[in-house]
Amino acid sequence: MNGIPMEHGLILAAILFAIGLAGLMFRRNMVFVLMSLEIMLNSAGLAFIVAGTAWEQPEGQAMFLLVITLAAAEASVGLALLIQLYQRFRTLDTDAVSGMRG
């Protein structure tokens, strides 16, 4: 429709996803892990919007609504875990709390 081609939008979504994934893999602080997850979810949402717009289908936006809901739910659980983590272990380092011997 307007000037931005679909590919650009998808590339942006992919970049965002990659950033989120990298954050997830390399950060140990749980706050950043959660933020990375949000970024990844949003990148997926962006991809839906872009594709929906490109094919002029409403389902893309509907899916985005679902993604937002999911992200909200995920954030609430994640933040709850984060608070528990901090209260129990006085740290936000996810590796430090591993109880396994591997």
């Binding site: 994934l21 893999m25 996810t94 591997g102």
Partner: protein, 622 residues
Amino acid sequence: MGVSMSYLPLTFLLPLLGTFILALSRGHMSERGSVWVGVSSVGLAALVTAFITIQFMSGDQSAQTLTLWTWISVGNFTPTIGLALDGLSITMLGIITGVGFLIHLFAAWYMRGEEGITRFFAYMNLFVFSMVLLVLGDNLMLLFLGWEGVGICSYLLIGYYYRDSANGAAAFKAFLITRIGDVFLAIGLFLIFAELGTLNIAAILEQAPAHWATGDSLVRWAALMFLGGALGKSAQLPLHTWLADAMAGPTPVSALIHAATMVTAGVYLIARMHGIFDLAPDVLHLVGVIGAATLLMAGFAALAQTDIKRILAYSTMSQIGYMFLALGVGAYDSAIFHLMTHAFFKALLFLSAGAVIVSCHHEQDMRKLGGLWRRLPLAYMGFIVGGAALSALPLVTAGFYSKDDILWQSLAADQKGLLLAGLVGALLTSLYTVRLIIGTFHGEMKSDHARNAEPGRGLQHGLPLILLAVLSTFIGAMIHPPLSGVLPASPGESTEAGHTALELIAAGTAIAGIALAAWLFLRKREALARLVSGGPGASLWTLWNQAWGFDLLFDRLLVRPFRILVFILRRDIIDALFGLVASITKGLNAGLTRTQTGRVRTYATSMVLGATVVLIFLAFGQ
């Protein structure tokens, strides 16, 4: 005639009842009570036997049967608990209950004051029960029942003094070796049933000649299998090694089981199955050859023993060798006749030996006895009469008539080799018998046990010895087993050529042997001692003393390999193989556990990697 059959089961039920009473008393029975039950049950059985015998002899002496019930019935497999009475079984029955009663009576004296006398008589009665069933069974299954039953009783009685593990080992050995024979017998039974479809002895003897031609390979196999069973039970080469060790049991046991009755079961079996053996002449010949070989082997071995019971054991083997020889030349009734006289005089010898042993405080080594003839006159008498019968002293002894008969039959059957073996054996017999008597009763007393010997007293001690001594003389030889019609005619019945000459030769051999032995052991004692103390004489002595080294051979050939096999397998190798599965699982578990680090980042990374791999496959896989 019908009357006697209905009493027949009593001959084995009475001893069985004795066993039950003794076993269920749970050790609360007094010694007197045990002796009463044990002896009287066999005594009553002997009375019943006498009654039946009288009826039988006064009748037409035909075979009769009595079926108690059908044991098993599946298809045509219908062995019964059935009894058959004919001349052969009545002869055996008489020996078992008659001689058995005398031995039981003697045992009451011999075992007095021993711990577990109840157990002793329970086993003895059980033995009589089994042995009677063995000879009365009208089919091979029931015969086998008795056959195995006497085996286990023999085992229990050899190991009667259970605290000594050597006795246990001897009992074990006896049971195992006879069991090897039993396997052969069992295979023979399978073969007979598969071929003839019956196990009834009379039916087998009737059908066999129609079913098989003479020398058919299957009938030869069947005969061989029966022979194998007989070899084990009767301690013939090569399954003979157990008998000498079996002397570990109380002496009445040796007299009853290992001289008079059980060991002759093999002879009975072959005589009973004569129809099969007649169809397999080469196997029958083998019987004779084995008998001849055994009688020589055991004769030499008896020469070099010092334990009086072991001498008697080897002499038993040797005498059974004579019976096998007789069977081998087709003289079945001579074999049974010798079986009977042998039961008399060998029981006498063993009981006399028992009297010596108890009087001398359980000393049975000839090197520590000697000079006892004055102190133990009754035992001495027993040894003299029994020994004379054993070495077949002409005319006055029972042994002469039966052994002479065997030699004559082998001549009549034109078996010169077997005849020669028999004559050499007769010489050997005289030699070791005289050596035994001189060593035990003459010379100086060689130990305190001998010097303090206390002669036995009482009816229980005296009566069996005297009665058996009477039966061992020519009086015993006047009992003729009613075997005509049961067993086929002997080769010697058709001719008389050379009989007198042979009788003279046999008598001469016996007397010459006795004279030679007397000269050797009375006059040339030092020379003999020098001969065996070094050089080839010593090795020969050791060889004979070890009975030609069969024990060692079997130990190396069978026992050791089996032990090694058991040792290798004892931890269950196959199970250990399955353990490998468990080990592999455990290893995998250990490896994979390492990947579970608990670090969320690692999990995420591996997820991404996994997803990537899957995507790549999906994209380029097709």
